[in-house]
């Protein structure tokens, strides 16, 4: 009896150790990946890397300025399309929660969230590229906006629901109309959260490659016209990583480092901002 109790306690401690070990194994890849990126990429980061376009094949040097500009433009245009729709749908779902439309959008946004980004890329191709007759940064933005809408909608809804209803009631009782209550009281209270939620969505789409492959396509040149094919950082990483030249691999690591710094910076910003605001939530 005593013996079996000892065995049971021993088993318990052992298993706690085992699941503790899974944490170490689980976190290991993060450090391996970030470590490799810094080791292989940091050496190539210099001013030229940020300011120049690629050197001709065979020559060393050159940079990814075209891809950085491309990413910024494609993501900015995607935000112009995706943010208003996502915000409106999110506010709608939170302010009119019981309606059939808001229940349907909540469910369909989850469906869209689970849709593989490559499928969204195919959709953007048939919708924009096939109709326009050529690849364009704009088509890439459309694909990214579609990925962004459900994310923005769900975080918006979540954050607006966190605003105490008493605030809304107080504003209405003071004679505010509904739209002013919603915009200047409720949304205003949730604003910091809405901003960080949107930034998080931006961080997610900025790293997307699959939907850009056959929409923005990629380019070796500095382009600022979104109706033309243009490069983006994730596309550059893919092209350089799968190319045959050592020099390209070097550029791939450096571009990946820049990309991840961008994405992690946005994520960290979001994390810090939400933590200070909703510290008790976690």
């Amino acid at each position: 009896m005593i013996n079996s109790r000892r065995v049971r306690r021993w088993t318990s401690n052992l298993m706690v150790g085992v699941v503790g070990l899974t944490v170490l194994i689980g976190i290991l890849p993060l450090f391996l990946i970030l470590g490799t990126l810094v080791v292989k990429g940091a050496g190539s980061l210099n001013l030229a890397f940020f300011l120049e376009t690629p050197a001709p094949v065979g020559e060393t040097g050159g940079g990814v300025a075209h891809a950085i500009v491309g990413t910024l433009l494609i993501v900015a245009v995607a935000c112009l399309m995706g943010l208003p729709i996502g915000l409106a749908a999110g506010i709608h779902a939170a302010e009119f929660p019981g309606t059939r439309l808001s229940r349907a959008t909540r469910f369909l946004a989850d469906v869209m969230n689970g849709t593989p980004s490559i499928v969204v890329g195919v959709f953007a191709w048939t919708w924009v590229v096939a109709r326009q007759g050529h690849f364009s940064g704009l088509a890439g933005s459309v694909a990214l906006a579609l990925l962004m809408i459900p994310m923005v909608m769900r975080t918006t809804e979540e954050l607006i629901l966190l605003v105490p209803n008493a605030l809304r009631e107080a504003a209405l009782a003071l004679g505010y109309s509904r739209w002013r209550t919603s915009l200047t009281i409720v949304a205003r209270t949730a604003l910091p959260g809405l901003v960080t939620g949107s930034l998080l969505a931006v961080a997610r789409i900025a790293g997307e490659t699959a939907p850009l492959l056959f929409t923005a396509l990629g380019s070796q040149f500095m382009r600022t016209d979104v109706t033309q094919p243009m490069s983006a950082l994730p596309l550059a990483v893919f092209a350089y990583a799968t190319g045959p030249y050592e020099e390209w691999h070097r550029l791939a690591w450096a571009s990946a480092l820049v990309l991840i710094l961008l994405v992690l910076f946005l994520s960290l910003l979001t994390r810090l901002a939400t933590r200070s605001r909703f510290g008790s939530h976690e």
Partner: protein, 330 residues
């Protein structure tokens, strides 16, 4: 951040939002109309997406019908297309990934909710969420230049040496392979499974644990007998959500799986997935039927992930709903 799922529904019984939907002045009507337009765009866009996919693959659907899904020839020159190796590759790589990722992520989730000192819970969860923030193409890059050389030099020969009598571990060792794709996918879906199952475990009322401990269970027994059984369907939901992620994952897989249309039993042999073939061939396609076949593949992938996600969400939703109904949860 990066919580892949949010199961937020307005709290029951508590009024929220505007109870009276009819606007009274012009501002209200305009405001509500704008919101409704935004909300309407979601079903409209999704419907349009489905329509475009069906329309784009119409040529292939007419030509091959459902036989497309069971034929294994993929020859763009002869204009013969069959998706069986792609479906096989997608399912196999995802299931293998789950085989690796599920024990790890459940271990992490259990450790974080049940055993970890409160001070380290948030930082560890945060680090794992960062893993989810790394772009797919960066995983692919790391896979090509770090993971594959490592696997080829150490793990693969070891597996062949010890389990080589099995058909899965026989045959020549290539670098890019089904198993390499599965390992990358496992790393990628782990944070998702972890964070959803953590949410589900947190929703289990503390009284369950206390009752088990009070009856003399050890800490581990409390987890296996009281906590996990009541969270079971939610955990299954979390795993299936991970499956949904793995099925649609494109870039990292494309970069490490080797991309061949052949069916092979060996996990060391290269393979192909539905998402990867679309990524690789869409820009190269020149004939209408090739485009249609690729769109057909995308449509099939969409339908599969839709079914998988809907099922998973239902399971997770039921567990967290039950918890918030009985006063736990948020």
């Amino acid at each position: 951040m990066n919580e892949p799922e949010s199961n937020v529904a307005p709290p029951k019984g508590e009024p929220h939002g505007f109870q009276d939907l009819s606007g009274t002045n012009v501002g209200d009507i305009v405001f509500k109309t704008v919101l409704i337009l935004g909300a309407l765009l979601i079903p409209v866009l999704l419907g349009f997406l489905v329509w475009e996919l069906v329309d784009g693959s119409r040529l292939a659907i007419q030509e091959y019908g459902l036989g497309f899904l069971t034929s294994s020839t993929w020859d763009p020159v002869a204009e013969e297309f069959g998706a069986l190796p792609l479906i096989f590759g997608t399912l196999l790589s995802s299931l293998l990934a789950l085989l690796i990722a599920v024990p790890l992520s459940l271990g992490v989730a259990v450790f974080l909710t049940e055993f970890a000192p409160a001070r380290i819970r948030s930082p560890i969860a945060f680090l794992l969420e960062l893993l989810a923030a790394i772009p797919s193409v960066v995983y692919g890059l790391w896979g090509i230049f770090v993971l594959i050389p490592f696997l080829r030099a150490t793990i693969f020969p070891f597996l062949q040496g010890t389990l080589g009598f099995l058909p899965f571990f026989s045959g020549p060792i290539y670098g890019p392979s089904m198993l390499a794709a599965a390992v990358i996918l496992a790393i990628m879906v782990m944070p998702y499974i972890m964070s959803v199952s953590r949410e589900v475990l947190l929703a289990v009322p503390a009284s369950q644990r206390e009752a088990a401990i009070a009856l003399g269970a050890t800490r581990w027994e409390a987890v296996t007998t009281a906590v996990i059984p009541s969270a079971r369907s939610g955990i299954i939901g979390a795993i299936i959500l991970g499956l949904g992620r793995a099925l649609g994952e494109t870039m990292a897989v494309t970069m490490v799986i080797g991309n061949t249309h052949e069916l092979a039993a060996s996990l060391f042999a290269p393979g192909y997935t539905m998402a990867a073939v679309v990524a690789n061939e869409f820009t190269e396609a020149s004939t209408d039927i090739h485009f249609a076949a690729l769109t057909y593949v995308a449509l099939a992938l969409f339908v599969v992930t839709l079914a998988v996600n809907a099922f998973a969400r239902l399971l997770v939703w039921r567990v967290t709903q039950k918890a918030s109904g009985s006063g736990g949860g948020r």
